[in-house]
Structure formats: C-alpha cells, structure tokens
C-alpha cells in the first residue's frame, strides 16, 4: 500500500496514479512538482538532481509511513522522485494518496511533499545561462 521509487527515467504520472486506485477510496490527491522556467526570477536552463539513494529511499518510506500513522484512513500512497538531468516542464516528483474522504487526501499529500523537502537526501543544482547554484545550500 506504500509504493516508493527513485528513478533516473521520466516519471509516468498516469501510471503513478493507477498505483493508488482503490475501490474503497473515493478521493485521490496528487501533487506533481515540475521544473519551472525560472527560480527567484532567474531563467533556469536545466536542473540536476543528485541523491543519496539508500537513505533517500529509506526516508521516503518513513515519510509515507508517518502519513499513514497520522491518517490511518489512507488506502494507498505513492511517492516517485526523479534524479539526473531535468529540463523545463519535466516532472521531478509525484506524490499520490487515496483515502475514503477528501479532506484527509489533501492533508496527507501536503504533509508528504512538505516533509520530503525537509528530510529526503536529494540535492538540486540549478543551471542558468551564466552559472549554477546548489539550491538552499547557503543562508
């Protein structure tokens, strides 16, 4: 009921959605994080995601388990994160959860993406026309 993946291949969003389908789940909430054409006003050319794979997979699963603990009505949870080189519009992350009722689907999905961004060992480098930056590295 928890499905986690970290992949260097393009994420198939429709396939990810199918993994959380459940006859008892009337509500599916999905968050998709895609590469934007700018960051803090600066045009972005491409991104590179680097992961500490074993820890990232372990932490992703922990975050999903924490969500299930907090919202026991959760039926299915899928989190897929991309790594490697991404271009504008590419999908970097998909979080999908299914629940019997809708309010909990929003809350659980929001919790998972927020917590993922705080703890999962993945690093993003943004490349601009004239340089690059490891996101969030410096104050």
């Amino acid at each position: 009921m928890i499905h986690i993946d970290l992949t260097d291949q393009p994420i198939d969003v429709a396939a990810a959605l199918r993994t959380v389908e459940d006859d008892g789940a009337g509500a599916i909430n999905t968050f998709i994080g895609a590469v934007r054409n700018k960051s803090t006003g600066r045009p972005v050319v491409r991104l590179e995601y680097e992961a500490y794979d074993s820890m990232a997979l372990h932490q992703l699963r922990k975050v999903a388990e924490q969500a299930v603990e907090q919202w026991p009505m959760l039926k299915k949870v899928t989190v897929i994160h991309r790594k490697g080189t991404l271009h504008i519009g590419d999908v970097a992350v998909v979080v999908a959860v299914s629940t019997p009722h809708r309010a909990e689907s929003f809350a659980a999905c929001h919790y998972i993406i927020d917590t993922l961004k705080q703890v999962v060992t993945i690093w993003k480098k943004e490349f601009y026309e004239d340089g690059d930056v490891w996101v969030a590295a410096h104050p």
């Binding site: 994080g33 995601y49 680097e50 992961a51 500490y52 074993s54 820890m55 990232a56 372990h58 932490q59 994160h81 970097a92 992350v93 993406i113 993922l116 961004k117 705080q118 703890v119 999962v120 060992t121 993945i122 690093w123 993003k124 480098k125 490891w134 996101v135 969030a136 590295a137 410096h138 104050p139």
Partner: protein
Amino acid sequence: MNLKIALFGIAREIVGQSSLEVSAPEGQSVQALLAGLREQYPALGRLSSLAVAVNNEYAEDGVTLSERDEIALIPPVSGG
C-alpha cells in the same frame, strides 16, 4: 579507527571527491567529526546546515561512530 564518509551535493564539490577517509579515535562523536571536517574544509561551515547520517538515519551530535557504520555528510537537502 578509519571512518569512510560519503559526500553529496555541495559537500562533495567542496571536498572535491565523493568520499573521504578520516582517521579518528575510538568513540568519536558526530559533533567531533563535524568540527574536524569544518576545520579542514572551512566552506563546509558556511552552509545553511550540515548533518551527519549514520546507517541512513540522521544522527544527533552525541552519537558515537564506529568503523562498521555507513556514514554520510548531509548538506541542506533540496528535493521536490
């Protein structure tokens, strides 16, 4: 003892390699390891945060390290 430290992201770039061997006294703490690395690589001290992971879990300052541990330096994460 010799500790092998895996490096990622900007920490990897600062050190210039993807892992580091550090010789340390038995019972070395996370805090002492970090202090030593920050002394040797001052740019590490300028990051927003710097954590140590032991066996895929974040480790508090007081945790003691052993040669059998899988140790990694964790600069500010930015997934999603």
